[in-house]
């Protein structure tokens, strides 16, 4: 890394200097931090308007989150959110809005639970089969939207929303005792998965058990980053997402890319139900968590489709979800956290645009300054630098 030297030269040759990298970091962090700040301020304003303390709820929540068992709840919930958000992010990078993550993970969890309860295999194999079934189911369900989009031009927004509703009906049918379900009291379940099909967790003692699936979630994040940034496929995907016609002109089969990324998004979505299924419930029942796919959209937006950003986003939303439980005991409504989540989403969209524009302006300014500086220095030097930049 050629740090130091003349900044102008380094920038022109396409290698970022320390300062340029710092700039990028500031710009990347600026959006979320600004959004969070605005959301906190607005929430405080809401609290003030309703005649409450504008600070106490935050203090209560942070204190409550200091307990080990609440932290375990937060981390476990974040694991689930993380996977769902990655699934959404895969679509976003391709300019596809997969709203169907919710239906995909529920159907996948249900089919995987039925499969997992149907037979028993040696431990690691059993878990792998369940995971594979979940991914295939999710991929299949998203693939329908993919085919509709590529062959008939149906907007994936519309088709995935409808597929969510269809998934609900299919699950309701399959979970009836006449099909694969079992009635337990007033609940319907798909039967217990044998212990060989449980994903071992990390026991933290009094805090509870952290889902072992967190390791898989982290690996997924790494794979997501590697595939998108270090493979031909990832480049094609990002290129098609940025401009379909430009990508097509450079030889990318756009339709195939749309279908493939939809299937991958669905496959990842299929895993979103696995932390709970393999780590906690070991069955799909009427009380299986719902709505994770929609939270995933929020988190993907918040994390700017970046695996690390999404991890922080997932932790933040999970924190708001879990720590807000304490507000009810102290005379506040836990819906304060819901208000805050909504404000964060709005603030995120606005602040990212603001930061992007600021970045653009800054860049223009800098280029202008550099050109002026170069024009002022020796003419020979400048032409040398420019040609060097062009050939790099």
């Amino acid at each position: 890394m050629s740090d130091g030297g003349k900044p102008g030269v380094a920038a022109a040759s396409g290698r970022p200097t320390t300062r340029a990298r710092l700039d990028r970091l500031v710009l990347a962090l600026g959006g979320p931090v600004l959004a969070l700040g605005v959301a906190v301020l607005l929430t405080s304003a809401v609290l003030l308007l309703s005649g409450r303390s504008p600070v106490e709820p935050y203090v209560l929540m942070i204190e409550y989150a200091g307990n080990a068992d609440i932290q375990v709840l937060i981390v476990n919930q974040a694991t689930t959110y993380y996977i769902a958000a990655l699934a959404v992010a895969v679509g976003f990078r391709m300019n596809l809005f997969n709203i169907g993550v919710d239906g995909q993970y529920r159907l996948a969890a249900m089919v995987a639970a039925v499969t997992g309860a149907a037979f028993s295999l040696p431990a690691p194999l059993h878990v792998l089969v369940i995971m594979a079934v979940a991914m295939l189911t999710g991929a299949f369900w998203a693939g329908i939207a993919g085919i509709l989009k590529t062959s008939r031009g149906v907007s994936e927004v519309v088709s995935t929303i409808m597929l969510n509703a269809i998934a609900t009906s299919i699950i309701a049918y399959l979970i009836l005792p006449a099909q694969f379900g079992e009635q337990r009291g007033n609940n319907l379940t798909t039967g217990q998965i044998a212990e060989s099909g449980w994903f071992p967790g990390f026991d933290t003692g009094p805090g509870g058990v952290v889902y072992g699936f967190i390791v898989v979630a982290a690996l997924l994040g790494v794979v997501y980053w590697l595939v998108l940034n270090r493979t031909r496929f990832g480049f094609d995907l990002r290129a098609t997402g940025a401009s379909q016609s430009a990508a097509a002109a450079s030889g990318v089969d756009a339709k195939r890319m749309i279908f493939t990324s939809m299937v991958i998004s669905g496959g990842v979505a299929g895993l979103a139900g696995m932390p709970v299924l393999l780590g906690d419930s070991h069955t799909y029942s009427l009380v299986f968590p719902v709505g994770i796919g929609f939270t995933g959209i929020t988190i993907a937006l918040l994390g700017r489709n970046h695996p690390v950003g999404i991890a922080f986003g997932a932790l933040l939303i999970a924190f708001l979800d879990k720590a807000s439980a304490t507000l009810d005991y102290s005379g506040y409504e836990k819906e304060i956290a819901t208000i805050m989540q909504g404000l964060i989403v709005i603030a995120v969209v606005i602040s990212y645009e603001a930061v992007r524009r600021y970045g653009l302006r800054r860049q223009q300014q800098k280029v202008g300054e550099e050109l002026a500086a170069q024009a002022a220095s020796a003419p020979g030097d400048t032409s040398q630098n420019l040609s060097k930049g062009a050939s790099a």
């Binding site: 068992d69 009427l286 005991y329």
Partner: protein
């Protein structure tokens, strides 16, 4: 080098995520000496207070106890999309804060209560609508909805003039199927020729069928168009739509859970509310709280059936009382069920 640092950042972030728990000591469930008697607490199911259904009924039981024993209880609503772990955490927190008994409304609390009851052996846990988990400090309050619904069926069969009656269920879950099963059996035992229209508003996990009156209204209109002149609803708040639709056409409707003839929000339609199949959740909750207050806590499965007046058919509508043939038939059916002459099946 850029590649390495970015990757390293990703790895550290995820590792940090995994390790946050290692850094801290206490847990929220550790006793903090706050164990003085603070009264009872209720943890609601989806919908929470204001659902005009069993969450509200449980709250009614709590308020009755609050007035009598002079403390302020607590009632907590769930959040969307939560898992069993969240429910268990809620129950543990209520127990830690000193509430006793702690009551979970709905079968969704079965697993969480089993867990919390083990962790808090000195606290009594009430569980409504489930008897699959048991324990010394668990009180299972279960209702024979099918028996009460059988009576509703008998009443509907006697009240109909078109020989078409309707059933509108909120969400198609086993609990609501008990209402359907009893109603259908009651109608058919009275007159097998009567046609029964049955409809559920939504499928789980979509719980709109318990909360959106417009869905109930739509379904009821469909049945009214098909000549139904008595409709029995088991749809919570969505049932208000059913009642409205039936009243608009001046047909009969049978309410559910509490005596809907007496409900203030339904006053404009009350003349069309023939009767209601009441489920005595308020008293079930109150009895449990009282037993704890008197240091003689209930334990095990408590069945609220026709015999125990846990389920019943209300008679506050004067028009209902005037139909002597109908009321006699209902009384007869009730006596037969209590005597064991009629077995009502809980599944359709």
């Amino acid at each position: 080098m850029r590649r390495v640092t970015k990757l390293a950042a990703a790895v550290t972030a995820t590792a940090a995520l995994a390790l946050t728990t290692a850094a801290c000591g206490g847990t929220s469930t550790e006793s903090s000496g706050e164990s003085e008697d603070k009264g009872a607490a209720i943890a609601y199911d989806v919908g929470g207070r204001g659902d005009q259904s069993f969450n509200d009924a449980a709250y009614a039981g709590l308020s009755k106890a609050e007035k009598e024993f002079g403390w302020d209880g607590e009632d907590i609503e769930p959040s969307d999309g939560e898992s069993d772990a969240d429910k268990a955490s809620r129950l543990n927190e209520l127990a830690r804060l000193g509430y006793n008994p702690v009551i979970g409304v709905g079968f969704a609390y079965a697993g969480p209560i089993e867990e919390a009851a083990k962790k808090n052996p000195d606290v009594t846990f009430g569980l409504i609508d489930d008897e699959t988990v048991t324990g010394d400090n668990i009180v299972n309050m279960v209702f024979s909805e099918e028996q009460g619904s059988y009576l509703a069926g008998v009443a509907a069969a006697h009240a109909t003039e078109t020989d078409v009656v309707g059933f509108v269920g909120g969400v198609e879950v086993p609990l609501i199927k008990k209402f359907e099963a009893g109603f259908v059996q009651g109608v058919q035992d009275t007159d097998p020729d009567i046609e029964i229209k049955r409809q559920y508003l939504t499928q789980p996990p979509n719980m709109d069928g318990f909360s959106k009156p417009d869905l109930g209204k739509e379904a009821a209109r469909g049945q009214l168009d098909a000549d139904a002149d008595v409709i029995y609803h088991a749809a919570g708040l969505a049932g208000q739509g059913v009642i409205e639709a039936a009243a608009d056409r001046d047909r009969w409707v049978i309410g559910v859970d509490s005596d809907q003839y007496e409900q203030k929000t339904l006053a404009p339609y009350k003349d069309n509310i023939l009767t209601s199949m009441t489920k005595d959740v308020p008293d079930a909750v109150y009895n449990l709280i009282k037993s704890v207050e008197e240091d003689d806590p209930q334990s095990g499965v408590i069945r609220y059936n026709l015999e125990a007046d846990g389920v019943a058919l209300s008679d506050s509508n004067p028009a209902y009382q005037e139909m002597t043939e109908l009321t006699e038939a209902v009384e007869q059916a009730k006596a037969d069920i209590v005597a064991g002459k009629i077995e009502v099946s809980p599944t359709p």
